[in-house]
Symmetry: C2
Subunit: 205 residues, 2 copies
DNA sequence: ATATAATAGTAATAATATAACTAAAGCAAC
DNA sequence: GTTGCTTTAGTTATATTATTACTATTATAT
């Protein structure tokens, strides 16, 4: 691949380039830093292998290059990678795109909303109740990451957490409102109602 | 694969099963229905092939099965699929999970936020301005899908759109606030400032 | 009559997710 | 002092999804 077009951007790929901006390092070290700094909240490194895979393709696309492979006395062998000029440019270009252009992504929850009538109203109420509990728990978890360091480290380094928190709060609010409508019967369906709707649409499509 | 564990859920896979709940049909027809009903807002079918691929694995996992392949007079050959019992159960199980359990997903924007200092404050301000414009445009696009049918079709069938809209509004609000802080200088960085921070952390880690 | 769009599906590759490994070293407990 | 668990560093293999590019037929518009 001659890389006329820019290499594919992804959270993991950006994180790798961003880390190599600091200094050359080996994949396992990147993994450690991502976790230490809690960037694993926004970059999926649950499976460390995706990091190795991503690094392979960044090498192939010449955004990074192998600097050396060394064996620090009692540790396993390490392959140190460094940024190339192209990698530096690409990282900045990705940042510009990611900030300026909303990506179209396909999260799961809205899909389930799109097919709600597969379940009964009662069951949906129960399930959304459980979701709310988990959302609340997640909100508390994030807050616990933020509050202890507030004032100690600049807000600049907490922005992604604040964003996640804001999204969480907005989802909680929305689900709560939906639950309200379901409980009040403002939104309702059952077998008979659904059939009557189908009839209606057969007449005037 | 003996499918001890449940097959992997995904937006496309759920959409396929949900459509087959209505009646047996062929992949291309599913694609048409998804687009007609605007479910492509929440299910990625930009590349029709992923639909065929997903269907292949659903067949392999015995959630659906080939019913017949027919040649309607002047049309290309069609392969009609139908739900199996296992498919019916699985679809319901997926719905329950997707409603009750928030998935951990990794959207792009928060990652860019996590690495903001790679760019200058000025550039970030410009870029976020552009993002806001696009978010506003997207918001208007979604509203234009909702408003004309409001009152004509039940809210139940607009829930995923309403959710997307709520998320959009919350993001717009958050980005606007961030832009405010950047313009006022409440949040600020530059070369010198970043270096001083690094020094600080060398002393007390 | 011819170009373009719609219909239905196939082929091939790249990227990512997921699980299961190897192998050496460090450390704690018994 | 050796047994067992954790950490370090990386590899192998497979499944799934994204992306591009095809084929071939029919419908429709110019």
């Amino acid at each position: 691949m001659t890389m006329k077009n820019e290499a594919k951007k992804s959270p993991v790929a950006l994180a790798v380039l961003a880390l190599l901006f600091e200094e050359p390092m080996h994949p396992y070290r990147m993994w450690q830093l991502i976790k230490e700094r809690s960037k694993d909240e926004v970059v999926n490194v649950r499976y460390r292998n995706t990091l190795y895979q991503t690094i392979d393709r960044l090498v192939r696309d010449e955004l990074i290059s192998e600097k050396e492979t060394r064996k620090e006395d009692n540790r396993p062998e390490q392959t140190i990678y460094q940024l190339t000029d192209r990698g530096r440019e690409t990282a900045l270009s990705w940042m510009r795109q990611m900030l300026a252009e909303p990506a179209d992504e396909f999260p799961e929850f809205p899909v389930a909303l799109a097919y709600l009538p597969m379940l009964s109203v009662e069951e949906v109420i129960t399930l959304l109740g459980k979701r709310l509990e988990k959302l609340d728990a997640e909100k508390i978890r994030i807050e616990k990451q933020i509050t202890p360091v507030q004032g100690k480290i600049p807000r600049l380094f907490l922005l992604e957490m604040e964003f996640i928190l804001a999204k969480l709060q907005s989802e909680i609010k929305w689900v709560r409102a939906l639950l309200g409508d379901l409980n009040e019967g403002t939104i309702y369906w059952d077998e008979a109602w659904l059939n009557s709707i189908i009839e209606q649409f057969k007449n005037k499509p």
